[in-house]
Amino acid sequence: MAFLELKNVSKSFVSSRSRSTSLAVRDFDLEIAPGEFFCLLGPSGCGKSTVLTMLAGFEHPTGGEIRVNGQPVEGPSKDRCVVFQGDDSLYPWLTAAHNVEFGLRMAGMPSAERRQKVEAALGLVGLSGQGSKFPAELSGGMRQRIQIARALVIQPKVLLMDEPFGALDAQTRHVMQHELRKIWLATKSTVVFITHDIDEAILLGTRVGVMTAGPGGTLRDVVTINIEGERDRLDPAYTRYYAEVHGMIRDEVAKSVRAMAA
């Protein structure tokens, strides 16, 4: 039973310079079941963010159709919360804590309850006690974690994350991956997770999708990760998956480099 459906989706943008259109994503076909943790990998510029933007409802496909729970996507919704690539979606006029509580406040949650949830969320991302700082006073990695806390705290049905751990050091990232997996196991929400780290994808995903090189990338292959219980880099199954996905991406990057040289 598909929960998120992308049917033959394509998206092209009109270039502001030449008024010519350029294809960002083409013929993207995918069904995601409820409770899945779907990881999307692909060479830089292949169209990952574009797919996520459309799933969120911020942009409409120029071809094909996107459905969530059977309903066509008309616009953004609180059920599909987004962690954006980059940090320009934080509110610079709010402190870190107020940024995190934004969604709860919109939902009208009373302030005491809110405070408690925000404290928990800040702790989860390793930023307890930093809640009174403004985004401009935080480091790049800290800002990214604030964004994650802001999305997690509202416990959305669908969590759309665009390279959420990109600005984190390996260790902090490791802690965060662990936390995210715990949350997902506990809440069984559906996650679409863009990353450029193969390890991360295999560690977290129920399935891993690999896109072809851009511009105008599409879904090349989807690998189902069948590892029960805790995942471990030393597990031979893990290494096999790694090699498989790694091979696909290497091909695609090579293709994209070749395409560019041409």
Binding site: K78, D87, S89, Y91, P92, A107, P135, A136, R143, I154
Partner: protein, 275 residues
């Protein structure tokens, strides 16, 4: 880093300087301002005393002499008080009206299309030309004067506010939508605060309009005010009075603007990198 960084950084192009003692630093900091002010008066003096030499263009000394005389007689304070009251009331009311309209124009496309014909036509109609209409609608009391000041304030603040709304980074709006904010909440919790620097710039610009319009407003049946002083001065060729009135408008405007900026830094500094 996000654009927000501006909130805590010094003006960008300023190259850091080697450290100085606090007093020396203060002096170096205000010296250019002092030179600026002095040059303003020197230029005026040279123009009046040597270049133009017209009876219609008094020197700063003559003007300040007259100003002092009027100040000592108490006259000047009455005029300033009368004008300032009108300016402040009109400016405050105008801003209060304009901010929500500007936000709505920037946020809701249909509202913009409905309202733009009004704002975009009316803002080109000079307030001096509206005197007659103001009197018909509001009589010759304070209301009509304050109406004119409001009129002069409203459009600038609307336009700047609307421009601010459309300059918001889309991801800020998108984030709010994905966090469950309704249209109205996006408007109030993202549109408004993100637009504050633009609104404040608009208000600073509008403040000048309020000051310049007081002169037109006080053409209507006013008994006191800097505008009255100016018109009477013009009618009777009391040149010094005209210039005292102009200097007062300039100085009051300058002071009000500084106070406004101070209040902003004090209460809304984090919204406003640019002041």
């Amino acid at each position: 880093m996000t654009p927000s960084k501006t909130a805590t950084l010094p003006p960008p192009i300023a190259i850091p300087r080697p450290a100085l003692g606090p007093i020396a630093r203060f002096l170096v900091a205000i010296l250019p301002s002092i030179i600026g002010f002095l040059s303003l008066f020197v230029a005026w003096h040279v123009a009046a005393a040597y270049l133009v030499q017209s009876v219609l263009f008094p020197t700063p000394l003559a003007t300040f002499g007259k100003g002092l005389e009027l100040a000592l007689s108490g006259q000047l304070w009455i005029q300033i008080g009368a004008s300032l009251k009108r300016i402040i009331l009109g400016f405050a009311a105008g801003s209060l009206i304009a901010i929500p309209i500007g936000l709505a124009i920037g946020s809701f496309r249909t509202f913009r299309k409905l309202v733009e014909p009004w704002t975009e036509c009316l803002r080109f109609i000079p307030s001096v030309a509206l005197i007659t209409i103001a009197v018909i609608w509001f009589g010759i009391g304070e209301e009509s004067k304050i109406f004119l000041i409001i009129y002069a304030t409203v459009f600038i603040v609307i336009l700047n506010t609307a421009a601010g709304v459309s300059a918001i980074t889309p991801n800020k709006i998108r984030a709010a939508q994905a966090l469950g904010a309704t249209r109205w909440q996006v408007f109030a919790f993202v549109g408004l605060p993100a637009t504050v620097p633009y609104i404040l710039t608009g208000m600073r610009l509008a403040m000048a309009n309020a000051f310049t319009t007081i002169v037109a407003a006080e053409m209507i049946a006013a008994n006191a005010g800097l505008g009255v002083m100016l018109w009477d001065g013009r009618m009777f060729m009391m040149i010094e009075e005209i210039f005292v009135s102009l200097v007062c408008l300039g100085a009051l405007g300058f002071i009000t603007d500084r106070l406004f900026r101070l209040a902003i830094l004090r209460f809304a500094g984090r919204f406003s990198p640019t002041m």
